[in-house]
């Protein structure tokens, strides 16, 4: 059994902020993928995803409560058996590793395009890898504290900026609504659901919680609240760009680029936003890396996760350095969207199997 060090214990608030960070990060990048097929109706699947997400929250929490001292990787083989359990556990751990990697590649691209065009990519990767190793080595608490620091600032700034943009938006730009019928929209809901990939933190980090009761409400309100903010971000992006959204690599960042506050000393709000968004991307990368480390540590039954946190770094460094174009990494070609949907459905399936087993007994 993996040892949980006291420094790895986190509070429920820290857990919900970590989940909120993941929703925000994917929210920034998911627009383009949905917009490819349904253009101006992109906001509708995102709205549907908010309606669906309570189902995922409930299944994740209910399953985690069944095994309060273990993570999903540890109890999956117990529920479905070794032969099916370990592949699922390996699949989940790999998903988190690749999510970390690909979000990191997009993070690299944003730094390269917007901030440091001449700095070699390798230098950013090395610095990121060292900081990542440090953050993971010294436990979850450090990452959670970073999220605690960044998320309130981001929420405040974000809401303010979105309000400013809302005043200038052209509401007719999302018309006509569902012009090609509801079917293409429904088909694209699966692309909006990965916004909530971070819910995996519940089943993975439940053993790390210092209070394991009454976690439903804070998770529910935070997830829905962040989902609504991201919904408005996507809606405003559509209101601003209409069909042009399909031509932008980073529509949300371009949205903030479009607006300037001439009376403010910070005229170009996009750089102010990047100051917040880049650490959020970093936190996402660290959390998912940590989840994959926990996953592999549990699968291979190591006592401490520090071993895997070092072992995965070379892979992280090498794959990040593969010279591929932005078209290749966008959006998570290495992690197809449906795999994240499956990862989100796994706890529901496990819960059903568990309940059926209990009934048989």
């Amino acid at each position: 059994m993996t040892i949980i060090h006291p420094r790895d214990h986190i509070s429920v608030t820290q857990l919900v902020l970590l989940i909120s960070t993941t929703i925000t990060t994917i929210g920034f990048l998911d627009i383009l993928e949905i917009a490819k097929d349904i253009a101006i109706d992109t906001w509708i699947p995102v709205l549907f995803a908010i309606i669906i997400v309570p189902f995922f929250i409930v299944t994740h929490i209910k399953l985690a409560e069944q095994f309060p001292d273990e993570n999903i990787i540890a109890y999956t083989p117990k529920i479905v058996g070794k032969w099916l359990g370990y592949p699922i556990a390996f699949f989940l751990s790999s998903i988190y590793f690749f999510l970390s990697l690909f979000i990191f590649q997009i993070f690299l691209e944003i730094i390269k395009v917007f901030l440091l065009p001449k700095t070699p990519k390798e230098i950013v990767i090395i610095i990121q890898a060292v900081v990542l190793l440090y953050a993971v080595w010294f436990g979850l608490n450090g990452i959670a504290r970073l999220a605690e620091l960044m998320i309130p600032i981001l929420t405040l700034l974000f809401t303010l900026l979105l309000f400013l943009i809302f005043l200038k938006a052209d509401y007719t730009n999302i018309l006509p609504i569902a012009n090609n019928g509801l079917l293409p929209i429904v088909k694209n809901i699966y692309k909006a659901v990965p916004l909530y990939a971070g819910l995996g933190c519940i089943t993975m980090l439940y053993p790390f919680l210092n209070r394991k009761k009454k976690i439903g409400k804070p998770i529910f309100f935070t997830v829905i609240g962040t989902g609504i903010i991201i919904f408005f971000l996507i809606l405003l992006t559509m209101l601003t760009f209409r069909y042009e959204v399909t031509d932008l690599y980073f529509p949300s960042i371009s949205l903030f680029q479009r607006f300037t506050v001439s009376i403010s000393f910070i005229e170009r709000i996009v750089f102010f936003l990047l100051m917040i968004v880049i650490p959020i991307f970093f936190i996402f990368s660290v959390i998912t890396y940590f989840l994959s480390v926990i996953g592999f540590t549990t699968i291979f039954k190591f006592r401490e996760h520090t071993v895997f946190s070092i072992l995965l770094i070379p892979a992280f460094f090498l794959i990040s350095n593969i010279p591929i174009s932005i078209a290749d990494i966008f959006w998570l070609k290495g992690v197809p969207i449906w795999t994240i949907d499956i990862a989100l459905l796994v706890p529901a399936v496990l819960l059903i199997i568990l309940k059926l087993k209990e009934r048989k007994k």
Binding site: F114, T119, P120, V130, F138, L175, P176, N179
Partner: protein, 415 residues
């Protein structure tokens, strides 16, 4: 605990290794802050393509002769740099008395090529993030602006609020103007639109909006700038009409105002109207306070009929009519009717003439149909040009006059 501390110290010190130099570091003194960019077209038909004031090596000359079969289009890019010590602070604090116009110009096959070429001429790297105005010469605009603006739309450093203006004649010439009021031509050019936009004699459009029009394949208007060398001044008014991305003609200031009343929100825009009494040749001027517009579309027998209702609330600013008592409600109603009729006639006339003259949907009727009447749009989308040519346009204007400044008397001179 000791192990943790030593690891922490090791990590911190290893991070310091990366702080020794920064690839993106550039001293502020080595930045050339570009304020205005002018882009023109030049067709090269000579034996070799000369760059201004540059010698060409023999080998280059041979290579160029090979692909000289066709006349070649090149961009003439002119950058105007800000001289920081000429614009900031007081003269006591060291502000330069005579600010020089730092203008550099070059030719290249692409905009990036031209900017890179300018790097080899100036001691500083052109910094485009402070660019306020992009001027495009008429010749280039007639060839299409998408390619010439691609670099600016793509770049994350260029402000999307940068104004794009079409100049009558070469854009480069505008930057050479030496205006007595402002030390820097860039400031002069930048400040004119700020005040002129209120008059609605030019369309209010920036790089961000333009990029959306280009992407959607819309027809649109861009503001016009005319250089008057004799008067040593610039006239900012009227617009260049674009069909897709190619300029096809000019619209005058009055036509643009009529267009704006129908297509853009107008506020504090002055409008002249004939007096209500037909025998009275005088006029009265109003200032628009609020304006609302509703459009309805009918599609019958393969013909589109557009009906636009415009509601305007205005204040009287100047009255040159003989018999007009603003406190008399009947008189006010007559004035409102006269104003409505004037606006209606102006809009209808301009709309019909520009539509026939340019055959360009600058009023965005196609966009309105696609947004609010998608079923009709599906039927007309393929032959939109044909439908646009045959559509009928009907305008209804309702006006309401609120105040007449601090005086309610008719023509003060008469009393």
């Amino acid at each position: 605990m000791m192990k943790q501390k030593s690891t922490f110290v090791f990590v911190i010190f290893s991070l310091l290794l990366f702080l020794t130099g920064c690839w993106d570091y550039l001293d502020i003194n080595h930045h050339g802050i570009v304020y205005v960019i002018a882009i023109d077209k030049e067709v090269i038909e000579k034996e070799h393509h000369e760059r201004e004031g540059y010698e060409i090596e023999e080998t280059d000359e041979k290579n160029q002769k090979e692909d000289n079969s066709k006349p070649k289009k090149q961009y003439v890019v002119t950058l105007q740099f800000i001289e920081a010590n000429a614009i900031a602070g007081s003269e006591k604090a060291g502000r330069a008395k005579d600010a020089k116009l730092n203008i550099t110009s070059t030719k290249a096959d692409s905009i990036v090529g031209a900017i890179n070429e300018l790097n080899s001429r100036t001691c500083c790297e052109p910094l485009l993030s402070h660019t306020r105005i992009i001027l495009i010469g008429e010749d280039l605009a007639r060839d299409g602006i998408t390619k010439s603006l691609d670099y600016f739309i793509r770049s994350p450093y260029i402000r999307k609020g940068t104004k794009v203006i079409i100049t009558k004649g070469p854009a480069k010439e505008v930057l050479k103007l030496d205006h007595p009021l402002l030390t820097h031509t860039g400031f002069y050019i930048e400040n004119i639109p700020t005040y002129a936009n209120r008059l609605k004699q030019t369309p209010d459009i920036d790089l961000g909006k333009l990029s959306m029009h280009i992407h959607h394949g819309d027809d649109f208007l861009l503001p016009r700038m005319i250089l008057s060398n004799a008067k040593n001044e610039i006239k900012y008014g009227g617009a260049a009409v674009f069909k897709k991305d190619k300029m096809i003609g000019w619209m005058g200031e009055r036509e643009v105002l009529d267009w704006a009343l129908c297509a853009e929100p107008a506020k504090h825009t002055p409008i002249d109207s004939l007096c209500p009494d037909k025998d009275d040749k005088g006029t009265f001027t109003v200032d628009i306070r609020h304006q609302k517009k509703y459009s309805s579309i009918d599609y019958k027998d393969g013909k589109i009929h557009v009906k636009v209702k415009i509601y305007i609330v205005a204040d009287v600013r100047e009255l040159q009519c003989h018999e007009c008592k603003m406190l008399d409600i009947k008189e006010t109603r007559k004035m409102e009717e006269a104003l409505s009729a004037t606006i209606k006639n102006r809009i209808s006339y301009t709309c019909n003439t520009t539509r026939k003259k340019f055959e360009a949907d600058v009023y965005g009727i196609g966009t309105i149909i696609s947004k609010f009447h998608p079923k009709i749009w599906k039927q007309v989308e393929k032959d939109w040009d044909k439908h646009f040519k045959n559509l009928t346009y009907d305008v209804e204007v309702a006006t309401s006059l609120r105040t007449a400044q601090s005086e309610c008397r008719p023509d003060l001179a008469e009393n």
